[in-house]
């Protein structure tokens, strides 16, 4: 009997499935691309403003910024629009004052704090070989405890910090030490009760500075004037 064919479950034929799935994929793809393109300029603008605000905060004399990659082979390269960092490159910002002279270098560092990562932007004075200050870019530290790194006067008095490039590394490793046990100008005195977050700041600065400063040293002359 032909009942056998009618007992079969109602399966969607493969071609219909592929056609429908293709249609849905096309619709979704279109929506995503439209959203991406539509918001692209606004997002880039937001990012630019955020970077500017952060850099101007740590390099107060700066009036304009040029972004660079310090590549693994020691060369410098200006960052193109929306360009991704090549492997092993460190991004830094050169801040220039109104006269076009170098006011300071700013770079990002990140290290694990109490909860999640603490991202900071720190500034380096290439003439005096000092880390002059830092500002927090993103942190989820405990309010009232970890976030004291931005307001605690004793902690902020740690800066400026000595950071002299010496060959492939720094002359002295930048370290956070226990509260009230700082003996050298390249050490950071932690905030009592907020040791973990303080250590994160020290580690963030050290990790980036170790990679960046030796690569910068040979290029300081060419960076002095705004290109």
């Amino acid at each position: 009997m032909s009942d056998a064919t009618q007992i079969l479950p109602d399966m969607t034929p493969a071609t219909a499935m592929i056609r429908t799935l293709g249609l849905i994929a096309a619709i979704c793809g279109l929506i995503i691309v439209a959203a991406y393109q539509g918001t692209y300029s606004a997002v880039q603008e937001n990012k630019r403003i955020a970077v500017e605000r952060a850099v101007f905060k740590v390099v107060p004399a700066a009036k304009s910024i040029v972004e660079y990659f310090a590549l693994a082979d020691g060369e410098l390269r200006k960052v193109g629009a929306g360009e991704m960092a090549p492997v092993g490159a460190v991004k830094f910002y050169a801040g220039y004052d109104e006269a076009g002279k170098l006011a300071g270098i700013a770079a990002e560092g990140a290290a694990k704090g109490y909860s999640d990562f603490v991202r900071i932007l720190f500034s380096w004075d290439p003439v005096k070989n000092q880390v002059t200050g830092f500002s927090v870019v993103a942190s989820r530290e405990t309010p009232g405890i970890g976030d004291k790194i931005t307001v605690d006067n004793d902690f902020l008095a740690n800066f400026p910090l000595e950071a002299k490039p010496d060959g492939k590394a720094l002359a002295h490793e930048i370290r956070t030490v226990k509260h009230s046990s700082k003996t050298n100008p390249w050490e950071i005195d932690a905030i009592a009760g907020a040791t973990i977050t303080s250590r994160a700041v020290g580690k963030a600065i050290n990790d980036t500075a170790q990679m960046l400063l030796p690569r910068l040293a040979p290029h300081l002359e060419e960076l002095k004037e705004k290109p």
């Binding site: 619709i27 929506i31 991406y36 997002v43 990012k47």
Partner: protein
């Protein structure tokens, strides 16, 4: 035979109250506890989730007759992921600070059980307009739940509400409230309050019902 079609208002209110995703169904907990450290974050997350809910349910409902049932879950997920990506970029364009505050949980809206659950249970069987109304109700219910948590945690843990300081500088914030354990405690407390309130309502109804029967 009179068929009571669920009115639009009932569709809407069902998500807000009777099947409130946070307090009744206890679904989609991950963002609820993670981002409710302040009122603003809670509100933004609620709005973002509502947007994704409404749009996904709308599109799924529109396409419901076409989606092959063997791969329906995967299709729903792809559609939901599409709108989450849209929300992700829109938030970045509006405010990078908000984007950083909400973090990975914007993209985690994709796996919010509420959205998939609604799509499977409701949007795949209902025409677009009622589906979207119900989704809107659910989203608003979710936002109310988020706000309830966010406001309590912000007031107790930081002494502010939506950034406005409430108690002045002498206030010692109850810091644990804005930390993970606080999230668990506050939600547990809210559920307790709801359970107690529900119990009282049942008792009242039972007393009334018993009274009528005795007549």
């Amino acid at each position: 035979m009179s068929q009571t079609t669920v009115s639009t208002w009932e569709e809407f209110m069902e998500g807000v109250w009777r099947q409130n995703p946070v307090f009744v169904m206890v679904l989609g907990m991950c963002p609820v506890l993670a981002v409710t450290v302040s009122g603003i974050n809670a509100l933004s997350m609620g709005v973002a989730t509502t947007f994704v809910l409404v749009c996904s349910c709308g599109l799924i409902s529109l396409l419901r007759k076409m989606i092959p049932k063997e791969v329906r879950i995967a299709t729903y997920i792809v559609i939901i992921a599409t709108f989450v990506t849209v929300v992700d970029y829109v938030i970045q364009a509006v405010s990078l600070a908000l984007y950083d505050a909400l973090g990975a949980f914007i993209q985690l809206i994709v796996v919010n059980c509420i959205i998939l659950g609604r799509a499977e249970a409701h949007a795949s069987k209902t025409p677009p307009l009622p589906a979207m109304t119900n989704a809107l109700g659910m989203g608003i219910g979710f936002t109310i739940g988020l706000l309830a948590l966010g406001c309590v945690r912000e007031i107790l843990g930081a002494g502010t509400l939506f950034g406005l300081s409430l108690f002045g500088t002498g206030f010692q914030p109850w810091v644990v409230m804005v930390l993970p354990p606080g999230g668990f405690f506050v939600l547990g407390a809210w559920l307790l309050v709801f359970a107690a309130w529900e119990r009282r309502k049942q008792r009242k109804l039972a007393a009334q019902g018993g009274g009528v029967q005795h007549v």
